[in-house]
Amino acid sequence: MNLTLKIWRQLDASDKGEMVDYKVTEISEHMSFLEMMDVLNEQLIASGKEPVAFDHDCREGICGMCSMYINGEAHGPDRGVTTCQLHMRMFKDGDTITIEPFRAAAFPVIKDLVVDRSAFDRIQHSGGYVSVNTSGNTQDANATLISKTAADKAMDAATCIGCGACVATCKNSSAMLFVGAKVSQYALLPQGQVEATDRVMNMVHQMDLEGFGNCTNTGACEIECPKGISLENIARMNREFLKASIKG
């Protein structure tokens, strides 16, 4: 198929940036979206132009590096996939496709479609862990029983890949799905209980410092999340936060 691409080009963080049109031809429907971008970039390099910078690494939907806003949706029109898992069969011959970076005040653009998501790391630094040293003397893994339901729910929350689609999708650029998922994983497990109060207070505090917006429960994040992280996690974080606030 032949396509017109409207792509955000921005030299660096200080550049104003603009949309630029490109044409690609003979795109197979079996290609992944990023393979289509590879074709475009090889074309640009061959004609002496600068290729489009975009983040990507594992190309199997788990590292969370790829981050394109395609036709107004984080990771494009398909559901339950990252940009790298999106395939060209979702598009038609002659389509015009708009490609932008994930936009949020807390995710400044580095170049073209590459954004800086280190705010997510800093939120994790503030409490996204259990304080346990490596020793070789921790208790046996089966010493504490954990119900299958709790373990499964914790796993569902822990499935978050930290891509930032939730933030890019939210009209308020809220990171509450991301933070809620991490808070939930630990809140559901006995190992997370000891530090539960400090964890939720510190992570929410850091989230606010980074300039992420608030949650107004539109649920758009849940729909666009490539890993199907549920809104329940935001509710659970709010409960944990309330509990922690009362405890002080």
Partner: protein, 665 residues
């Protein structure tokens, strides 16, 4: 220099404990004055950085990705082995050790493997304490599954995302130390050289991938944890950025490179679909617990399937050839990866491949749907369930176990694997070879260590499933943090290492000149042009089977391609900006050297062992034929051109295990 593996004396089962009791330690107050650089933040690098920081060392961590959480360990799916014997099925430290040595086709170092098996149980305890949500059964205990090449269930898992959860565990341990200032994290940075001062590794030269700035970083020791080199094949299941650069740079500065030809071609990957393909996707080996592998018995059926006139589900049991069950009745679909891959290639080479390219076999879950469905019907007290009901109940169980993998398959192939068998074909997945290390995990450069997939130590010529995660975390959490202390105990009075020295000047100059050369070359072909060509040579001549003639040709072709690369490569943009093409050019340049050494290593190893299959050396029924005189590790010393590398042999002695023909029949 003679190779000294520094394996401690004494009985195998006491070696590690006795050794730990005797080595030098650094007192906690002195650790504050010692810096350690860790390159890479996967399971090995992440766990090492966190543990070293917990112990009190000042750690500097480097990752080329935008966050440590994105290292490619995250993509490991199936699970992690540990000799816990929770299932009571006869597992033990010795059995894990035995399986690993046998699985590696008797080409790994006994003492290292035994230590790995010994600490494996600690890993599970540690990860559970960190809040890693492993799968559990209804009683609240940890669940296990089986992997290839073993007869017990010792694999712990978190759905099909075990690597992700373990890496997030190590990442969380890192985060705690980053918050305390004990780890200084350098994201979007790439190590481009090691700096050796007075014969010791004392720092690295790194490039900031956002600004292009070249930076000097000093430390008392340097740990390479940068993963494997599977991307030398262009197409592999590795991440796009996975590279050999860190390992190759230390090799060029004096670290021997061991067994480069030992590569794992994983049997269950999604087949390639066209020339535009940028990478391959793995379908976890755990699927072979429940999936049966087959091709049609008759060539007419193959033809009809390829033409779309026949569906695989139309074929009766009698018309199918479950070739693994036929050839290897004892292990069936759970033979080790090298064996399963070669068997698939054998069938496809004979013309039985089931897709248009002729390079695919079926992985079929119908029998599992039936088996699990019948069991569920009994549990749920459903009398006389219809076949549809049984299938539906069975599919629910399979979905709970592997749902994300089935979804991944459907998104890529556009076929529903619940309704029609998956198509799979072998692909490059892991490299057992790597930087040579001694028992302390130290390379032949004093103070330079290599851990995880970046080293060569534990898997011999073939790695068993769910053992990569085990080795990465064993090295990072439980081995390196002890052994590095023995070396660093001499450095408590050294003080901060200055970066303002002739050695750092020289290393930085070399790095800058190379970058400037690449940028200013303004040739005619893109970096990918060369990478694809290299990949084709590697796959055709150094792939699943190799022979003398092909390997000799590969050495010449790679050498010529490298020359062409340096003359005609085109790198757009400048050196002082975010420039992915420039970063990639450096990595491909290193692959072009490694590839040649790889072919040379494969040529010299005149035997078949594990993932290294030489057509000249096979048994009458086509199995790998080991040769007694090759019972050694090949450690290569850099001497300019890769083809001039000098071979050093580390003889392998097996005192606790009988070396036998490796049979899975």
């Amino acid at each position: 220099m003679a190779l000294n593996s520094k394996v401690p004396h004494g009985p195998l089962k006491d070696k590690w404990t006795d050794y730990k009791n005797q080595i030098n330690l650094v007192n906690p107050a002195n650790k504050r004055h010692i810096d350690v650089i860790v390159v890479g933040t996967g399971l090995a690098g992440g766990s090492a950085a966190a543990t070293l920081a917990e112990l009190g060392y000042n750690v500097k961590s480097f990752a080329y990705q935008d966050s440590p959480r994105r290292a490619h360990s995250i993509a490991a799916q199936g699970g992690i082995n540990a000799a816990k014997n929770y299932q009571g099925d006869g597992d033990s430290t010795y059995r894990l050790f035995y399986d690993t040595v046998k699985g590696g086709d008797y080409r790994s170092r006994e003492a290292n493997v035994y230590r790995l098996a010994e600490v494996s149980a600690n890993i599970i305890d540690q990860c559970v304490a960190q809040g890693v949500p492993f799968a559990r059964d209804y009683g609240g205990l940890l669940d296990n599954r089986s992997f290839g090449g073993v007869l017990v269930s010792r694999t712990f898992y978190a759905k099909g995302q075990t690597g992700q959860q373990l890496l997030l565990g190590a990442y969380s341990a890192m985060n705690r130390q980053i918050a305390r200032g004990k780890i200084e994290m350098f994201n979007r940075h790439e190590m481009l050289d090691v700096v050796v001062v007075d014969g010791k590794a004392r720092g690295i030269i790194a490039r900031n991938l956002v600004t292009g700035e070249i930076e000097r970083h000093s430390a008392h020791a340097v740990v390479i944890a940068s993963g494997g080199y599977g991307n030398v094949y262009f197409l592999s299941t590795n991440a796009m950025g996975s590279n050999v650069t860190a390992g190759w740079k230390v090799h060029k500065k004096g670290a021997y490179f061991a067994n480069p030809c030992y590569t794992q071609i994983h049997p269950t990957c999604i087949p390639r679909s066209g020339d535009y393909q940028s990478k391959l996707t793995l379908m976890s080996e755990s699927l072979r617990n429940d999936g049966r592998i087959w091709v049609p018995k008759n060539l007419e059926d193959v033809k009809a399937i390829r033409e779309g006139k026949l569906k695989p589900t139309d074929l009766t049991e009698e018309q199918r050839d479950y070739y693994l069950e036929r050839r290897y009745p004892a292990f069936g679909n759970l033979v080790p990866r090298d064996v399963a891959s070669r068997a698939a290639k054998e069938r496809c080479d004979a013309g039985f491949g089931v897709n248009a390219t002729g390079e695919a076999v079926y992985l079929d879950f119908a029998a599992s749907f039936e088996r699990y469905g019948s069991e569920q019907a009994k549990i749920q007290n459903i009398s006389n369930p219809s076949p549809e009901k049984i299938k539906q109940l069975g599919q629910e169980i399979v979905r709970a176990k592997y749902g994300n993998l089935f979804q991944m398959y459907e998104k890529i192939v556009d076929e529903n694997p619940y309704e029609t068998p998956m198509m799979i074909y072998p692909a490059v997945h892991y490299t057992m070879g790597g930087v040579w290390v001694d028992y302390n995990l130290m390379t032949t450069i004093p103070g330079c260590y290599a851990i995880g997939e970046a080293n060569f130590s534990d898997h011999g010529a073939n790695r068993l499933g769910a053992s990569a995660l085990m080795q990465g975390l064993a090295d990072g959490y439980f081995v390196l943090p002890y052994t590095i202390g023995d070396y660093l105990s001499d450095d408590i009075r050294t003080g901060k290492i200055s970066t303002d020295t002739p050695e750092f000047d020289a290393a930085e100059k070399e790095v800058s000149e190379r970058i400037n050369f690449l940028i200013n070359n303004k040739g005619t072909h893109s970096v990918d042009h060369y990478h694809k060509k290299l990949g084709k040579i590697m796959w055709d001549k150094c792939g699943m089977s190799r022979n003398k003639e092909g390997l000799e040709a590969a050495i010449e072709e790679i050498s010529a391609l490298r020359e062409d690369f340096w003359k005609n490569v085109l790198v757009p943009g400048t050196a002082t900006e975010y420039n992915e093409q420039l970063a990639k050019a450096g990595r491909v340049a290193d692959f072009l050297e490694l590839g040649e050494l790889f072919a040379k290593d494969a040529l010299v190893r005149e035997e078949s062992a594990g993932g290294h299959f030489r057509e000249e050396y096979q048994t009458d029924d086509g199995e790998a034929k080991r040769m007694k005189e090759f019972q050694f590790v090949s450690a290569w010393e850099y001497k300019g051109e890769p083809k001039n590398a000098v071979l050093h042999k580390e003889d392998l002695a097996y005192e606790n295990i009988e070396v036998k023909e490796r049979s899975y029949k």
